[in-house]
Subunit: 252 residues, 2 copies
DNA sequence: CGGAGTCCACTGGTCTGACCAGTTTTTGAA
DNA sequence: TTCAAAAACTGGTCAGACCAGTGGACTCCG
């Protein structure tokens, strides 16, 4: 195995075992190079590997530091191997929404089909609570409403997957994105979407419920996309061969 | 921001967007350095970052290659949080299939929409290989075919979730369920389903592709359900990780 | 004395060109 | 034609130089 990898593993184990605490400074590259008897290039490669893995952070002129672990990781469950995809890649957020659109739709479909009396009661309660307040400013109630529907699907796998996706979103999206856009028109649209979803589920109309749910997620997704555009960061959609040509001269 | 990071992000985005497909070779370090007008050291640092992130794999004397987007496949054993659902409730298998049905459909839909030339080539290759042999006895090829389609969706979230679900299934279902039932009629049906899916994706017909994929999963699901009814011990919980690994070679 | 610069010794970031070590292709002799 | 040596790739490591932020120490002036 390459020396740089051995070093990166060694350092990572040192950090994970607690030999180096979060926020603690790592010896300088030149020091490490001398101490370990290798060139500075190797050290830098090892550090970049840890950097890509999110174990350390490096600041020009200051040094490298052990990254502080995400505090919410323990509460919400586990560190998803997907998480690294998000760092610096807001586009992944829309991949996430793309999947959610589908699953929320399925959940609504199944909920309309399978909801028991108790489920309907819970859903109604959540919906009423939501109706009383501004859904845009109350993400928690919004979440409660959707969760009630998902759970009414009586598919634990679906519940879990959607929950994971939602957690991932919460960690990446700026706190309550909705708050940033308290436009009246949008609020009204969302209220209407919720009502359509609610009525379809309660009435036991799977197809309508599915349609309402997917439409809702898609609406949110597109709203976010617009926001992103206005914010300056450009989101690019599916790419074809053109993008590849820039690099793909080498192999077949 | 450091040049090496810009390059690593650029490359990662290129990969996620589908400009570079899994298993594809990345231009050599020297080529990248020349083409991007930076030193080889910078390229190496960028590649090490992607390596730490699991996006690429590098082999001495051969080159760097885009890693398959499925993280858990060859990584060190990570205990999925979903696993606990199965303990004592093997019935969850059908919940799993219910979700997969939806997501495989979406993946096929997106693949038909977004597949690049390279993707089509990979899918065709996987399909041809599959066609040459008995799909029922060759779970590995079957898996390769489906994976090629999912990856052509260019949605890493979708890839990851589906992979998780698939792993989950492998851990609970007896190895190659299909093998236990080598009925000729079933084999023919599956071949036909694969062909429909393949043709729809290649032809760029999202709706048809989605329909074919969901129909396929549903068919498999119902076949399993029938088997279970007939009294076979379809589901068994593996005792330990070693036992589980034995199953991890089988496919849909 | 106290603040505002300047300077210098750190830190990481990049470049160059060389050489070592695996892998693949080409070549040329048996 | 066959097959082994050689050349031409690939990544891995090394050396030393210089650039670019950071921060502390040490002036120098008010």
């Amino acid at each position: 195995m390459a020396i740089s990898q051995e070093i990166s593993y060694r350092l990572e184990r040192l950090i994970l075992d607690g030999g180096l605490a979060p926020e603690q400074k790592i010896p300088s590259e030149r020091q490490l190079a001398t101490r370990l008897g290798v060139s500075r290039a190797v050290i830098r490669e090892a550090l970049h590997e840890l950097q890509g893995r999110g174990v350390i952070e490096t600041r020009h002129g200051k040094g490298s530091f052990v990254a502080s672990m995400v505090p919410g990781a323990n509460e919400l469950g586990e560190q998803s191997p997907l998480m690294h995809l998000f760092e610096g890649h807001p586009r992944t957020l829309f991949d996430l929404l793309e999947v959610r659109e589908q699953l929320e739709g399925q959940a609504a479909y199944l909920a309309a089909q399978r909801a028991t009396r108790l489920d309907r009661h819970r859903i109604t309660k959540a919906f009423r609570a939501l109706e009383d307040t501004d859904p845009l400013s109350n993400a928690r109630l919004d979440h409660g409403f959707h969760l009630a529907i998902v759970e009414a699907s009586h598919n634990p796998v679906l519940v879990h997957v959607l929950n994971s996706l939602k957690n991932m979103m919460l960690l990446t999206v700026q706190a309550s994105v909705a708050n940033l856009n308290p436009r009246e028109e949008m609020r009204k649209k969302i209220v209407r979407q919720h009502r359509q979803l609610y009525e379809a589920v309660i009435a036991g109309k799977p197809a309508s419920a599915q349609k309402a749910a997917t439409a809702h997620v898609r609406f949110v997704s597109e709203a976010m996309r617009d926001m992103e555009k206005e914010g300056g960061t450009l989101i690019r959609l599916p790419v074809n061969q053109e993008a590849a040509n820039e690099y793909s001269r080498a192999g077949t």
